[in-house]
């Protein structure tokens, strides 16, 4: 039953008419397209929270990246290998992680930088870090120097003024008129409040001072959980919409891009980060072992509040859904994935306590991503078949 065609096929592994004759309907293009579509949800959520300025940042970053890619494709031979979906996904990732206080012109420059770096770093699949993430981190550092702890003014919320309905006394957001018309100003953000509180608490976790500090922080300084869930809080444009991120995650799981079998790993990443999050930079050198239990020192209701604040106010969820779904983030073998995620969770927790003006989970992943092939080589996948 062997035809002459079949003989040719064996000699040439790349030949088209060798099995399989059926291909999974998701090619590389669709892969990035699905992530792009999923990213629209948290970005739209961010726009509804932060307003026109956030929309302009997104449009500027994406348009600049698209224009730069168009120019590179037209004038360079290497540029012809760039793919539109990949570049736009990177630009959207950049705008999702951009601080709301970022100047619009800077977003444009960042968009151009994304396209240029993709072109330089070797096109989709060859770059060792997500270019969009890298540029977003630089953007955060640049903007961080201009203004720390950005927060939206209360009368600029597109979804309505949620603040008016809350019983908060101390956690006051300024009004637009009071800050000379700007949409966002710098005030202490929930994760900064949390970092400061836990630093004091971890010194003497069982003392009365610690207890009253916790009561003040959770009762008056931090926004109530419902508001955090809706995204009415300081943060990055695409990171604040918790509900939007969860919906995006469901879309990606439906497309099999967020592999349901890997959910255990996402949970591990979030949990490790959250359990170690209460470690403060202070306690790292003074009372490391006492504070290692972190969350377990808190009364149960406070521990639940803390988990909620950590999930909603950091970028753990965003990183768990988008960065882990993006191809090239994780090592390939399952064992090395577990170790990678443990390390990423721990690093993210550390960064969130050092309170750098950076998204902690994304920064942790960015730092570990170049090491992914190394993780694979020290913990390779071994077949169960003996031969």
């Amino acid at each position: 039953m062997t035809t002459s065609d079949a003989a040719v096929v064996v000699a040439s592994p790349g030949a088209r008419h060798r099995a399989p004759f059926l291909l999974w309907p998701v090619a590389r293009r669709e892969f990035y397209q699905a992530i792009m579509i999923a990213l629209i949800l948290p970005l739209a959520w961010g726009v509804s929270i932060f307003g026109v300025h956030a929309l302009l940042i997104i449009v500027m970053a994406v348009a600049a990246a698209a224009a730069a890619q168009g120019a590179l494709r037209r004038f360079t031979s290497r540029g012809k290998l760039m793919t539109f979906n990949h570049t736009i996904t990177s630009a959207m990732l950049l705008s999702a992680l951009a601080p709301e206080t970022c100047p619009i012109w800077l977003a444009g420059i960042a968009g151009i930088a994304v396209a240029l770096l993709i072109w330089l770093a070797g096109l989709p699949g060859r770059q060792r870090v997500h270019v969009g993430l890298l540029v977003a981190i630089f953007l955060s550092l640049a903007v961080g120097r201009i203004s720390q702890g950005p927060i939206l003014v209360q009368d600029a919320l597109v979804v309505g003024n949620l603040r008016l309905t809350t019983p908060l006394q101390h956690y006051r957001w300024p009004r637009r008129a009071a800050v000379r018309g700007r949409d966002a100003v710098t005030v202490p953000a929930p994760d900064h409040v949390l970092a400061k509180t836990l630093r004091i608490v971890s010194d003497r976790p069982q003392g009365t001072k610690a207890r009253s500090m916790l009561d003040i922080a959770f009762g008056t300084l931090l926004p109530p959980p419902a508001e955090l869930f809706l995204g009415a809080m300081p943060g990055r444009i695409g990171v604040v919409g918790v509900l939007g991120i969860i919906l995006a995650g469901l879309i990606l799981a439906y497309r099999n891009i967020l592999n349901p079998a890997a959910w255990g790993m996402f949970i591990l990443f979030v949990l490790v980060g959250l359990i170690f999050a209460p470690l403060s930079a202070h306690s790292m050198h003074h009372q490391f072992w006492q504070s290692l239990g972190g969350i377990w020192y808190l009364p149960p209701e406070r521990a639940i509040d803390l988990l909620f604040v950590e999930i909603c106010s950091g970028d753990f969820l965003f990183a768990s859904v988008f960065l882990l779904a993006l191809p090239g983030t994780l090592p390939l073998s399952p064992r090395s994935r577990w170790v990678f995620l443990l390390a990423a969770g721990f690093l993210a927790a550390l960064f969130s306590r050092i309170a750098l003006p950076l998204p902690p989970a994304s920064t942790a992943i960015l730092m570990l991503q170049p090491l992914a092939p190394w993780f694979d080589s020290i913990l390779p996948r071994r077949s169960w078949i003996k031969f």
Binding site: T3, P327, K386
Partner: protein, 351 residues
């Protein structure tokens, strides 16, 4: 967890299968009583391999010689996702299957016999399962491709870790072998025909008894289908091969024929490290690393070429790869190279 993909039930209704008269044997020998006689009987009855990935009973009987068999694994599962060969055999004649099963279990006298079947085929298999219940343990499975591959099935059924289950004393027999053997025993016939399933988009699947050695084109005509200029794939779209119906002949291992329009070729692009191939590989190897080492000569890939020896050629990695890389083909070339090196090393040392 053993990898693989659930393709869903084959989802087509079994048509009536017209009866066939197998060629008679000139001087039917007595029923075999031991392994040596079984070997001779199978050779005389022309009962060969019934699927390219399923070892033939004759070969297994010859290579096992006097060794003890710990388990007999009878598979009513289909290796090809779209095939329903188990249900077809059960619909043809459960009594003939049982005759074949009884002979095999009698000769190999193993302590355990397991009949693994697809849950979705339960309706068609019911008469057979009723009769077989007293003879063997029944194991219903939801088949994730390639769970019916003998190595994977032996892992599921008996925790076997070898590419060849026979090495661990597990004899694997498929339902078609039991059917053809039983028919030969009961009616003294040769295994001159075998059921072949025919698929074509827009036409309900057909099952015909095809004469071994006849032209594939004749099989299509027998089913009332003109293959025309369509692409013809033998034995499944995942691991089969393209054949020319005009020149190809039916062999004992031809289970399915599929006709479809030649797809637009997609150009392979760089690996994006999505990890899908690693997640789906049923034998837990890293196809991306092997591909990088074999085809891209990537020194960083850290792949051990011997891993390629574990590949069972299921084609899932190539099927799923969003970059459309010919992973399975590359790994097969790598395996051939490793095998060649092993053979030459063995040859050198024997000199």
């Amino acid at each position: 967890m053993i990898g693989g993909i659930y393709f869903g039930p084959p989802g087509w209704h079994l048509p009536d299968i017209p009866p066939v008269t197998m060629d008679p044997r000139r001087d039917p020998p007595p029923h075999p009583a031991d392994r040596t006689q079984l070997c001779d009987y199978l050779a005389a009855a022309d009962l060969g391999q019934t699927h390219p990935q399923f070892p033939s009973l004759a070969n297994q009987t010859a290579s096992v010689s006097g060794r003890k068999i710990k388990k007999i694994m009878i598979s009513a599962l289909s290796i090809i996702p779209e095939s329903r060969i188990g249900a077809i055999c059960a619909k043809i004649n459960p009594a003939e299957i049982l005759a074949g099963m009884d002979l095999i279990t009698g000769i190999f006298s193993s302590p355990t016999t397991v009949l693994a079947y697809e849950r979705i085929d339960q309706r068609e298999l019911r008469p057979l399962l009723k009769l077989a219940r007293s003879r063997c343990r029944l194991l219903p499975l939801v088949s994730r491709y390639p769970a019916a591959h003998p190595a994977i099935l032996a892992r599921i059924v008996a925790g076997c870790r070898s590419a060849d289950p026979l090495e661990e004393g597990i004899l694997t027999v498929d339902l078609l072998t039991c059917l053809l053997l039983g028919r030969s025993l009961l009616h003294g016939t040769l295994c001159s025909h075998r059921p072949v399933q025919i698929f074509m988009a827009g036409v309900s699947p057909r099952v015909v008894w095809a004469k071994i050695g006849s032209s594939v084109r004749d099989v299509f005509l027998q089913a009332g289908i003109d293959p025309g200029a369509m692409q013809c794939i033998a034995n499944g779209l995942l691991t089969g091969r393209e054949i020319d119906p005009a020149t190809a002949k039916v062999d004992s291992a031809l289970e399915t024929l599929a006709l479809h329009l030649r797809p637009e070729p997609e150009t392979p692009v760089d690996c994006i490290r999505c990890g899908w191939c690693v997640q789906t590989c049923p034998v837990a190897i890293n196809p991306a690393a092997l591909y990088a080492a074999q085809c891209l000569h990537d020194g960083v890939a850290q792949a051990n070429p011997r891993d390629a020896m574990a590949c069972i050629d299921c084609g899932l990695c190539t099927y799923i790869c969003p970059s459309r890389l010919p992973l399975a083909a590359c790994i097969e070339d790598m395996r051939n190279r490793v095998e060649f090196n092993l053979v030459s090393v063995a040859g050198d040392s024997s000199v």
